[in-house]
Each structure stands twice: as C-alpha cells, then as structure tokens.
C-alpha cells in the first residue's frame, strides 16, 4: 500500500508541469470599451481541433502546422486599436508578465521609444516550449497572443496569419 501511495505521489508530481500550464488571464476590464477596433479570438479544445481541419492536408508545410496545432491546448488573441496615442495603460504589459511563472523565458525583446515594444516569452520545460506569449504594445495598438501547449519554435513562424495570429515577422521587414 505504501508503495502504491509512493508511486501515485510520483505520478502526480510528474504530471504537475503539464497541469501547471494555466491559461493566462487576458481579460482587461474596460479596455474594449475604449478601443476603436477589437479582435478577440478564443480557440481551445475541440474548437482548435475543428479550426485545424481547415488547414490543408495536401501541402507538407500546412500538414506539419496542422499536426502542431492538434497538440495545442489553446490559442488566444486579443487585439485593441485606439483612436489616439496613450489611450491605454502601458502597465498592462507588466500585468500580463506578472502572471508568468519562473519557467517563462524571454525569447525576443524589442524596444522602441516611438514605435512598438514587442516581447515574446516562452514557457520552457527543459528544451521544450510548452507555451508562448507575444505582447505587442504600440502607442495606439495593444495585441496579445497566447499559445498554450507544446510548440515547435522552429515552426512558429508558420502559425503567423493563421487563427487570427498577426503576421509579426512580415511586419518587421
């Protein structure tokens, strides 16, 4: 019985990192009311599976993206565009970052006084990324993308333009 309890405890501990992947709170009360344009996409569980079916199975690249998407737990996009500069509190970026645990590591950080600030952070478990957050804060636009689940970072760019995820790398060119 003691052995059983010990192995059960081990199993629970081993399962903890996966269970610890929690959805980041992306609700910002009152922000949508101030914004001129809002895009709010919530794809989780079965809905994500359904959406992935619209990726072609013929093309090898799209098939690989589809396989990656099938392993994800959720994709969440929040984008707000404002009429004037400074209509949202830039402290929102910090409020999102504060929710991220110690396993979250910055991958890309872009700072600009006039244009946008971009932060890309990944939830690294060993050499695997189990989640990703992209925060783009411009004077008139605030966008957050949260991808929950195992991600092949090399294939990440393939997700741009799919499921409402903005084409960040193309915008930078």
């Amino acid at each position: 019985m003691r052995k059983f309890i010990a192995s059960l405890a081990l199993m629970v501990v081993a399962a903890l990192p996966a269970a610890a992947q929690q959805r980041i709170n992306l609700d910002f009360p009152g922000l949508a009311d101030k914004a001129e344009e809002v895009v709010d996409i919530t794809l989780d569980g079965e809905m994500l599976r359904m959406a992935s079916k619209f990726l072609s199975g013929k093309d090898a690249e799209e098939r690989a993206v589809r396989d990656m998407v099938n392993g994800l737990h959720g994709i969440y996009v929040r984008s707000y565009e404002f009429a004037n500069d400074g209509e949202y509190d830039r402290a929102l970026v910090q409020s999102v970052k504060k929710q991220l645990g110690p396993t979250w590591k910055p991958i890309v950080t872009v700072r600009s006084k006039k244009k946008e600030n971009v932060d890309i952070l990944a939830d690294m478990r060993g050499d695997r990324a189990m989640g990703l957050v992209v925060i783009s804060a411009e004077p008139r636009e605030f966008t957050i993308v949260n991808i929950n689940g195992p991600i092949d970072l090399e294939r990440l760019a393939d997700l741009e333009g799919q499921f409402g995820i903005p084409e960040i790398s193309k915008e930078k060119k």
């Binding site: 709010d40 079965e46 959406a51």
Partner: protein, 158 residues
C-alpha cells in the same frame, strides 16, 4: 387531394425540423428591440428542409434571420444579447468590431460530437443585421474546400 397531402407533408416536416432555442432566443431578443424589424426571406423554410434532408457538403442544418433598423443598436447591446441568449454549450470563438466602420461580428460555437459543430454567427453593420446558425461537420466542409477551392472563391466573390 394529392397537392393538399403534399402541402400538409411539407408543413409537417418543416414544423418537425429541430428547433434551435439558441437561435430563436437571440432572434427574438433582436426583434423585440424597438425599431428593429425582422425581414422575412421567402422559401427559406424549404431551403432549410432540403439542407436538413440532403446535408450537402457537411452542412446538416441552418437557420437565417435578417433584420432592418438595427443601426441604433450598439455592439455592446449585441454582445450582451449573444451572451445572454446564445444558450448552454455555446462559447465565444471570435468577437471583432470596428466602431469606426460600425461593424460588429460575433461567432459563438458549440461542439456537438461526431465532428459536428454548431456555429451561431451575428454580423451587424449600419445597413443590416444577419443572424445565422449552422450545424456543420468541419472535416467534410474542409475536405470540400480543399477539393473545390473554386467554389469558395465563387461564394466569396458574391
């Protein structure tokens, strides 16, 4: 006599079609708003019956309602209507709006099992408001789009 029987059969089958409380509830909420009028679409019931019987390209059922005079409704009111009346099991998939253009779109979804999903779509601009409910098999629809991309192009151009 046979014409009467046929007519009666059509009426009976149309009545017997699965009624979606979610769709009706949202439509009723929109219709009850002062100044908003539902526009009737002729033969829509027959079209729905045909879809229900034949399930073309993975579409098992649909309902559609268009409204005039909803210009005074703002997006928040529409969002509240969807949240309050979309019904159990429906969750928001896409909510997008542009105050500048006066356009509001909401897509709520409910998985039904066996690969089928119910989508409740509310699209609103200054001219009209359209509410659609479709019961689709995403895999069959996706397969059709993959094999017949020209059809999708034709539909999107309309």
């Amino acid at each position: 006599m046979s014409r009467r029987v046929l007519l009666g059969a059509i009426v009976l089958v149309t009545i017997a079609l699965p009624l979606s409380a979610d769709f009706r509830s949202v439509a009723r909420a929109l219709d009850s708003h002062p100044g908003v009028d539902r526009v009737s679409v002729p033969f829509l019931g027959l079209a729905r019956l045909a879809v229900w019987v034949a399930s073309p390209e993975g579409v098992h059922d649909f309902q559609l309602a268009t409204f005039e005079g909803a210009g005074k409704l703002d997006g928040q009111q529409l969002q509240q209507m969807m949240e309050r009346h979309a019904g159990e099991g429906f969750s928001p998939l896409v909510r997008a709006w542009s105050k500048k253009k006066g356009e509001w779109s909401f897509i709520y979804a409910k998985p039904k099992g066996n690969g089928r999903t119910e989508l409740l779509v509310l699209s609103h601009d200054s001219d009209e408001t359209v509410l659609v409910r479709v019961d689709v098999n995403a895999e069959v629809v996706a397969r059709h789009i993959e094999h017949e991309p020209r059809h999708v192009g034709n539909v999107s151009r309309r």
